[in-house]
């Protein structure tokens, strides 16, 4: 870890102004920042702490939806009665993430900005080549140990998976990210690596997330987050799915369906093809299982991670069946 200066922002605009400079990073909880600094991946000259700024940790749930202040703690959102009632997938995505100690410290905006767990990205001393860290230097993961790498949204330059859970649930329910400058639909917020894996989000220098807004929906109300992993707790997803389901009045025809995937793609991944294939269909296991195969359309395996292509449709299927009472 390189030494850095530490200061507290006096206001959002102060923080915004200061982070326009190169080498200055915001700290919104610090659980990820300190970790990456220890790995030698993130080497800020200055860290600006925004955790003491007031008014950014409100959680509001109304008929229209939820507004989550950027500095809300993961644990606070996970335990919020309104979120649990209206957006169970969001609450579950948080309570299944990290550990209680981390959830008590980490903020939800910081969580969105969490960076990949790619072992090669996190180990610059051993693996200097990483297009994410050093554009043009190459990708050490290709040809390496790739069990946890992405099968969707990859490029020749990068196969690192997006590790988070919350963003997957937010993507399923069309959340909007509010920043100091604008409102960004979450579907546009994360950037696939393409030829520029070092660019991970739309955020510009000095732009700060202030809130996350999630519209209410029947699908969000009836939703779940299914996270599959070898270890029962405190592990990133081998594959996960945030799913919301709304049935017609007949109780069996699918009116609305939301499916987003985690742990398998370079960004939180919306499985729109699955949604389209099933909306209007009668909910039954065979139909769901068949349609769920569309979730991995275009998936590319890189050695050890081939199992994810088999696993994803099963996770999607189970999540839908669970919501439909058929699991």
């Amino acid at each position: 870890m390189k030494n850095f200066e530490f200061s507290r922002a006096t206001s959002l605009s102060d923080a915004s102004l200061r982070t326009q400079e190169a080498g200055v990073l915001l700290m919104a909880g610090g659980t990820s920042l300190v970790d990456l600094a220890k790995c030698g991946v993130t080497e800020p000259d200055m860290v600006v702490d925004i955790t003491r700024l007031g008014g950014l940790d409100q959680i509001e749930v109304s008929e229209r939806g939820a507004t989550l202040g950027a500095l809300s703690r993961m644990a606070a959102v996970a335990d919020h009665a309104g979120i649990k009632a209206e957006f169970p997938a969001i609450a579950q995505s948080l309570s299944l993430a990290a550990s209680q100690q981390l959830r008590n410290m980490a903020t939800i905006a910081g969580n969105l900005m969490q960076r990949t767990r790619c072992a090669y990205f996190r180990d610059p001393g051993a693996f200097p080549a990483c297009n994410k860290r050093q554009p043009g230097s190459g990708c050490s993961a290709l040809g390496g140990v790739t069990r946890n790498h992405a099968v969707l949204g990859t490029s020749r330059e990068c196969i690192a998976s997006y590790p988070g859970d919350l963003a997957v649930a937010l993507l399923a329910f069309d959340a909007t990210i509010e920043t100091t400058d604008r409102r960004i639909p979450i579907g546009e917020f994360f950037l696939e690596p393409g030829e520029t894996p070092h660019l991970e989000t739309l955020l510009r220098p000095g732009e700060i997330i202030t809130a996350i807004v999630v519209p209410a929906s029947a699908a969000a109300h009836r939703s779940t987050y299914l996270k599959v992993r070898d270890r029962q707790s405190y592990e990133f997803a081998a594959a996960s799915a945030a799913v919301g389901l709304q049935l017609e009045d007949d109780g069996r025809t699918i009116r609305d369906l939301r499916v987003a995937l985690g742990g398998v793609a370079t960004v939180p991944w919306r499985a729109s093809r699955v949604e389209q294939a099933l909306i209007g269909q009668v909910l039954d296991e065979g139909t769901v299982r068949q349609a769920s195969l569309l979730a991995v359309e275009g998936a590319v395996a890189h050695g050890d991670n081939h199992y994810k292509i088999d696993l994803v449709p099963r996770v999607v299927t189970r999540a839908i069946l669970t919501l439909g009472g058929l699991a």
């Binding site: 870890m1 029962q232 707790s233």
Partner: protein
């Protein structure tokens, strides 16, 4: 300084050997007041940080250290080209090559992550920053980074075990099975990382370092620096887990002690979590092929075992995959061979139940496979092939309550309710499987020395260089002394983990408890006799007119056996005698042992007696009954219930023994389902060298575990009748889980860990 303050609970958990007294060091550990090695407040301390190689094979040509040395606070950069006057130390068994210089930072690079330089600076941060600026230039040579690149290996002939004609019996058997089983590299990852503080005063070296063997480590440091054993003091009162990794001094200890001597200042060297994957070796990856031949009714006719493990390119370490194979079952035709495959890795080391653990994984899976091939219940096939004596040595067992363990475990688990066919038990989309795995660990014995000190107030101190890394030594030593002396346990203060104290063998091979309690018992009995003699013969003794020729001590009071006897407390006797203290030291070495031999007994392994050294074959035994739940779509395995029954002889403290067995079982869950050192074959780097990526079980992965004890005192095994507890707990867990997974899914996964992709 009182390290441990005994407490009295006022209930049945107080008191004597065999009771369920809670750990005497527990409160200090959970309240944070137990001071570990790297937390020692030492003045004038400077800090060392290691620089590690970024190649797997080759040599260091040059080291550019100018930039590092230019940083403020940097005191010294140690590199391979700087040779100090140190000598190679003897190995664990006392073999020493004379007059060979010891190079803790050799120029020859044998594995990725090997330390090639060290920076010492005023602060840790300065040392860390400077270490990053050290530029190492290498000449790289081709490397073998994973076991599969290493060919078939070389058979180690002395490890071959043969009797009967295994091949002929296999060829003519009614039913045969053949399978290959693999285990990956596994790591100790104790929660307290390694490291030390080294400090010199003239030619006296003091080391604060977590140690499973203070005498052995002190001997190593003494030999490195060519100073008398007495000049080295290893202090290790508390240890945050070792599992075999803290039994010896490693190169980084030499680096810290060397730097401390050169700089004439105390040096702290903390091995980081990631460095813990290369600073010392974990369990070697193994592979073994088993061929079993049986009659149609499931009676074993032949066992053919061929095993191999990876070792380093510069030293041989045998992870004996055939260690348990010959003693588990009755068989008249047996053949086992063990090979080594050289890989560019740090030399593997002992990790909880070395040898026995992967060995049991092989044979216990194979016997399960045979049970299905023959169509006999996995419990029944084990009983049908029960070994009534040790077929390898031909000797009778001292005690072997494995049958009792199997029957008691089966009863408690409800094994008779199992439906035999794979995939026949389910709960919705969850497949349920039940499996058995048996385990064993040899009873190793060695002598100990112990000091008992009666103080003027009648309280008791016990001193030993033996250690407590969580297994409960403090507590059982206090119980043993209290029992033998006739005082309550809260009057006993135990001091452990200091190499200047009375000698003890390594806390390894599950041998410390049996050894240390023997010496403490002997010393305490001698102290008791001495107190009684003093009480009888003292001028003004209240017993002088009693006519008694001996006395008893009960609850700290000395009296005759008559009900109307006068009595006095031990403190009153000491006051009457005007004594400040009374010291009694006793060891369990053979009569007439010379001082030199005594020294060897505690600083080497050469005096350790194996399980068949006498007329019996002596081992601990266990049987695990495990239920798993496997998601039929996801392949995720969760262990949902465990009943394990053990024969570990007499349990000195059942609560602590169960706790240790439970710890072994939890480690076995990790081995079966989670743990695997992942090596990038391109450079030999362990890529999951941290606790975020190297997965061990969390609380959520650990189901209720019920421990049954079916053992009886075995006085062939130890003075007080206990057999080893520390290691047998893990042995047999992985095969029980693998067998349960097969029962649940019908899929036989033969390489650990059983991760989800192997089941979907």
């Amino acid at each position: 300084m009182t390290l441990i303050e005994p407490r009295k609970h006022g209930d049945a958990s107080d008191g004597s050997l065999g009771s369920r007294l809670s750990r005497l060091d527990g409160r200090r550990k959970i309240t944070g007041s137990a001071t570990y090695a790297l937390e020692q407040p030492v003045e004038n301390l400077v800090h060392a940080v290691l620089v590690q190689s970024t190649i797997a094979s080759g040599r260091v040509v040059s080291v550019d250290k100018a930039a590092a040395e230019a940083l403020p606070g940097v005191l010294m950069v140690l590199t391979p080209d700087k040779v100090f006057n140190m000598m190679v130390a003897s190995d664990w068994f006392g073999n020493r090559v004379e007059n060979v210089p010891y190079l803790p930072l050799p120029a020859e690079v044998n594995y990725y992550g090997q330390a090639v330089a060290a920076v010492i600076a005023e602060t840790f941060e300065q040392a860390r920053d400077a270490a990053r600026l050290v530029k190492v230039h290498y000449e790289e040579t081709p490397a073998v980074t994973v076991i599969d690149q290493g060919g078939s290996g070389t058979v180690t002939a002395p490890m071959t075990v043969e009797w009967g004609d295994a091949q002929a019996a296999f060829d003519t058997a009614d039913i045969t099975i053949e399978a290959e089983y693999r285990t990956p590299r596994e790591y100790h990852v104790p929660i307290e990382p390694h490291g030390l503080i080294a400090s010199w005063q003239d030619d006296q070296l003091t080391i604060w370092e977590p140690s499973q063997w203070t005498h052995g480590m002190a001997r190593t440091y003494a030999e490195w620096f060519e100073i008398p054993f007495e000049n080295v003091r290893i202090i290790s009162p508390f240890i945050g887990g070792g599992f075999g990794s803290k039994g010896g001094a490693y190169f980084y200890g030499a680096v810290a002690a060397l730097a401390a001597r050169e700089l004439a200042r105390p040096v702290k060297l903390a091995v980081t979590r990631s460095q813990g994957f290369t600073a010392y070796g974990g369990r070697a990856s193994t592979r073994q092929t088993l061929k079993l031949g049986a009659s149609a009714d499931g009676v074993l006719q032949a066992v053919i075992h061929r095993g191999a493990n990876e070792t380093s390119t510069y030293a041989d370490f045998h992870e004996g995959t055939g260690a348990a194979t010959p003693i588990m079952y009755a068989v008249n035709n047996f053949s086992s061979q063990q090979g080594l495959i050289k890989v560019n890795t740090v030399t593997p080391g002992a990790l909880r139940a070395p040898g026995k653990n992967p060995s049991a994984y092989g044979i216990e899976c194979a016997i399960d496979e045979l049970s299905y091939a023959v169509g006999i219940d996995p419990l029944e096939i084990r009983l049908r092939n029960y070994a009534d004596h040790d077929y390898q040595s031909g000797k009778p067992w001292s005690t072997r309550k494995l049958r009792e363990a199997l029957l008691a475990g089966a009863e408690r688990f409800g094994w008779s309710n199992r439906s035999a066919a794979p995939r026949s038990m389910r709960d919705g989309r969850t497949l349920i499987g039940w499996g058995i795995g048996c385990g064993t660990f040899p009873n190793l014995t060695n002598s100990s020395d112990a000091m008992i000190r009666i103080l003027s107030d009648g309280s008791v101190e016990v001193e030993s260089a033996g250690i407590d890394m969580g297994q409960g030594t403090y507590t059982i030593v206090a119980q043993t002394a209290a029992d033998a002396l006739g005082v309550s346990v809260d009057r006993v203060d135990v001091k452990l983990g200091d190499s200047v104290s009375a000698g003890a063998p390594v806390a390894g091979g599950s041998m410390l408890a049996g050894s240390i309690t023997g010496a403490v018992h002997k010393a305490a009995q001698a102290a008791r006799e001495e107190l009684i003699g003093l009480a009888l013969n003292a001028p003004n003794s209240p017993f002088s007119t009693s006519g008694a020729n001996t006395l008893v001590i009960e609850n700290g009071r000395i009296k005759t056996s008559r009900e109307d006897s006068p009595s006095m407390s031990i403190g009153e006797l000491m006051a009457m005698l005007g004594r400040e203290k009374l010291e009694v030291k006793r060891d369990t070495l053979p009569e007439g042992t010379t001082r030199e031999e005594q020294q060897k007994a505690f600083t080497h392994m050469s005096k350790v007696r194996g399980p068949t050294a006498g007329e019996f074959s002596i081992h601990s035994w266990g049987a695990h009954f495990i239920e798993v739940r496997v998601d039929e779509d996801f392949g995720t395995v969760r262990v949902s219930r465990i009943v394990s029954a053990f024969d570990c002889g007499r349990l000195y403290n059942p609560k602590l023994a169960e706790s240790q067995l439970r710890g072994g079982i939890i480690m076995g869950i990790g081995q079966a389902l989670l743990e695997e050192g992942l090596v990038d074959a391109r450079n030999g780097r362990v890529v999951n060298n941290n606790l975020g990526d190297y997965l061990v079980p969390t609380n959520a992965d650990v189901p209720p575990i019920e421990i049954l004890s079916v053992g009886e005192p075995d006085f062939e095994a130890s003075v007080l009748g206990g057999k080893g507890v520390g290691e047998v707990g893990i042995v047999g867990v992985a095969p029980a889980i693998a067998n349960a997974v097969f029962h649940a899914t019908g899929k036989r996964v033969r390489d650990l860990p059983i991760t989800l992709e192997k089941l979907i």
